[in-house]
């Protein structure tokens, strides 16, 4: 019992923050500054290239952008998903740990690249039911009451991402999308009334959620980079219509194969009783191979 209780804060963090943590944002580097690396997967650089044929170093560690990983590259974080450059314009990702409790895959397709502009679409298909049932337990860790009936849910997240290289080495990404969810079977599911969780699970109760956001990524100096993001959730409910999240952090990337992220996340949400905000520390280590 005590051991289970001791794990509680970590468990809560994993639940609410980790799956959606933006641990390692785009770290665009000017090609000229990347002279210490020998990229087997480099392709010729050209502003006029078609989708997928610009600097691969720009596309590393770039989950929040319209960039896709170079073909054949894998990246995985302690808390972040496993991402795979299936081709130069298609990236697949899934969370290696969470997949077994919250099965889901995401495909990001680069649609256009020209000049400083890159456009992509992202498509996720998820089945949250096993996880919801996992947290429907008596006692500690029970975030959903045991008298709830949890059906099989199918949830999809669709978005368009537009990344602009605002300055050399500094990218701005805007995205717009929606989450859609349906279920099979009888449902009686209480909401989890806490920032981070409430807006993300809202579609299970209300069919859909609209999401839009802005990511700023770039190099500060040397191996140090920054990430700042903002995200707005618009929910189809009368009294709990909005949720807002913001994260920022510092990234240390000593090589092209791994990086450390440290930062914070702020989340505010309208909830059934009013509104609430929460600050969380963020930390992640990402490896690439």
């Amino acid at each position: 019992m005590t051991a289970r209780l001791a794990l509680l804060p970590f468990f809560a963090f994993l639940l609410f923050a980790a799956p959606w943590t933006p641990p390692a944002k785009a770290l665009p580097r000017p090609a000229a500054a990347d002279d210490d690396e020998d990229d087997d997967d480099d392709a010729p650089s050209s502003d006029e290239d078609d989708a997928g044929s610009f600097e691969p170093e720009t596309r590393r560690f770039s989950p929040g952008t319209a960039y896709t990983l170079p073909a054949g590259r894998f990246e995985v974080g302690v808390f972040g998903p496993l991402r795979w450059g299936f081709s130069d314009t298609l990236e697949l990702s899934a969370h290696p740990v969470w997949f077994f409790t919250w099965p889901g895959v995401t495909a990001k397709k680069q649609l256009y690249h020209g000049g400083r502009l890159t456009v992509a679409s992202s498509h996720s298909l998820e089945v949250p039911t096993p996880f919801l049932r996992l947290i429907q337990v008596e006692g500690t860790g029970g975030l959903i009451p045991t008298d709830n009936e949890i059906p099989w849910f199918l949830m999809t997240d669709e978005r368009v991402l537009v990344t602009v290289e605002a300055l050399p080495g500094h990218d701005v990404t805007w995205f717009l999308g929606f989450t859609l969810a349906g279920h099979f079977g009888k449902m009686r599911l209480d909401t989890i009334d806490y920032p981070l969780a409430y807006p993300r699970l809202s579609a299970l109760h209300n069919l859909f959620t609209v999401r839009t956001g802005l990511d700023l990524d770039g190099r500060i100096t040397g191996d140090f980079h920054y990430m700042v993001d903002f995200e707005l959730f618009v929910l189809p409910e009368d009294e709990t219509r909005l949720a807002f999240e913001h994260a920022a952090g510092l990234i240390w990337r000593p090589s092209r194969n791994w990086q450390v992220f440290a930062g914070y996340k702020f989340a505010w949400s309208q909830l059934p009783f009013g509104s609430e905000q929460v600050w969380l520390p963020l930390l992640d280590v990402t490896w690439a191979f």
Partner: protein
């Protein structure tokens, strides 16, 4: 490295109060006011004092922590229906001062209905004070979520100088249990009565401790009352003491505890028979001990279950440092239709007595 990262996340949780569950040893209580004020009657008649544990407006729903229970959070319709029953009974008893225990003000389990405000707005009581006994922005256990539940004092007349006195936590709980779980208290307030200001004290002492935490709560309650008495302040005090009077016919193996699926072990008051002695000897009980011992079942005020069992033990009390109107103290155990049966409104029955404001 992987092993240490989670520990880093624990640090801020331990260093501060991220879920806002903590209280000072002594702090103010929250004031309430009915939306529309009802003018109190101008009379020298004795005041009607009522103490009632209202089970957070749960009526006789059997919750997951009870024998045979499985329910989690209530719907708003369920809460309002139960509150209408409670308010109906309160209007019927027509108290001047009402002591409430287990009243929710912003809890997920009771659909976030502010029950103190709701009861003020649906009875002839005008003013209230409230002190949380269980408060957290989010409790990650049993789907409880947000919780704010506690003790309240409702009055026809204005209440001043409301104070929340923290009671000790159960000693053998883990740190996380202490952080998230009950923070019991005594709440006091001065009633600005037209003839004389007096104090009301309301308490809900520990029910689940296996150590002497409940005894320390009872001692602290007696101490607070003794301090009021020492400065010459008249008071009425009471609440759910989770203790049975000396001379009770049964101290364990109550029929409503006779199951294997309850979250808590059945109540066993063995060895606690003298714990209320200081209150009985120092102050005046609305129900004299001799009256209770002559006919205990007439004063039983609690039974678990879904209402299919009769009241089977006395846990609720009223005390004062001034005399009660002789023979007025009783437990409102039942009522013939069309009056509402208190057995179906909560797992506790209201304790009622008449008290004259000292001149």
């Amino acid at each position: 490295m992987r092993r240490f990262i989670p520990l880093l996340f624990l640090l801020p949780l331990l260093a501060c109060d991220p879920f806002h569950t903590q209280f000072d040893d002594v702090e103010g209580a929250r004031h309430y006011r009915a939306k529309s004020q009802v003018t109190p009657p101008v009379t020298s008649d004795p005041l009607t004092i009522v103490s009632w544990n209202v089970k957070y407006g749960g009526g006789r729903i059997l919750f997951f922590w009870e024998c045979g229970g499985h329910r989690g959070n209530m719907t708003r319709d369920e809460v309002i229906a139960n509150l209408e029953g409670l308010a109906g009974k309160i209007r019927e008893l027509d108290p001047d001062i009402l002591l409430l225990q287990e009243v929710d003000v912003q809890s997920k389990r009771s659909a976030y209905v502010d029950q103190v405000q709701w009861l003020l707005d649906h009875t002839d009581l005008n003013h209230g004070v409230y002190a949380s006994a269980w408060k957290a922005d989010f409790i990650p256990s049993d789907g409880l979520g947000r919780m704010d539940s506690g003790n309240a004092i409702l009055s026809r007349w204005p209440l001043e100088n409301a104070v929340r006195y923290a009671l000790p936590l159960i000693g053998d709980w883990s740190a996380i249990e202490k952080y998230f779980y009950l923070k019991r208290n005594i709440v006091t307030a001065q009633v600005v009565h037209p003839t004389r200001t007096f104090t009301v004290a309301n308490v809900h002492t520990e029910a689940f401790a296996e150590d002497d935490t409940k005894l320390s709560h009872l001692r602290r309650f007696a101490q607070v009352l003794a301090e009021l008495d020492a400065v010459g302040m008249p008071f009425v005090a009471g609440g759910d003491l989770n203790s049975i009077p000396p001379g009770s016919p049964q101290v364990a193996d109550f029929p409503d505890d006779n199951c294997g699926d309850a979250r808590f072990e059945g109540d066993d008051y063995s060895g606690e028979e003298t714990w209320l002695d200081p209150l009985y000897t120092q102050f005046q009980s609305a129900i004299p001990l001799a009256d209770y011992q002559a006919d205990p079942s007439a004063f039983f005020s609690f039974v678990g279950s879904d209402g299919d069992l009769p009241w089977n033990r006395c846990l609720d009390y009223l005390f004062s440092n001034h005399p009660w109107v002789t023979g007025s103290g009783h437990v409102h155990q039942g009522a013939a239709p069309p009056a509402l049966d208190p057995l179906m409104l909560s797992d506790h029955a209201p304790v009622v007595a008449a008290w004259e404001v000292p001149q």
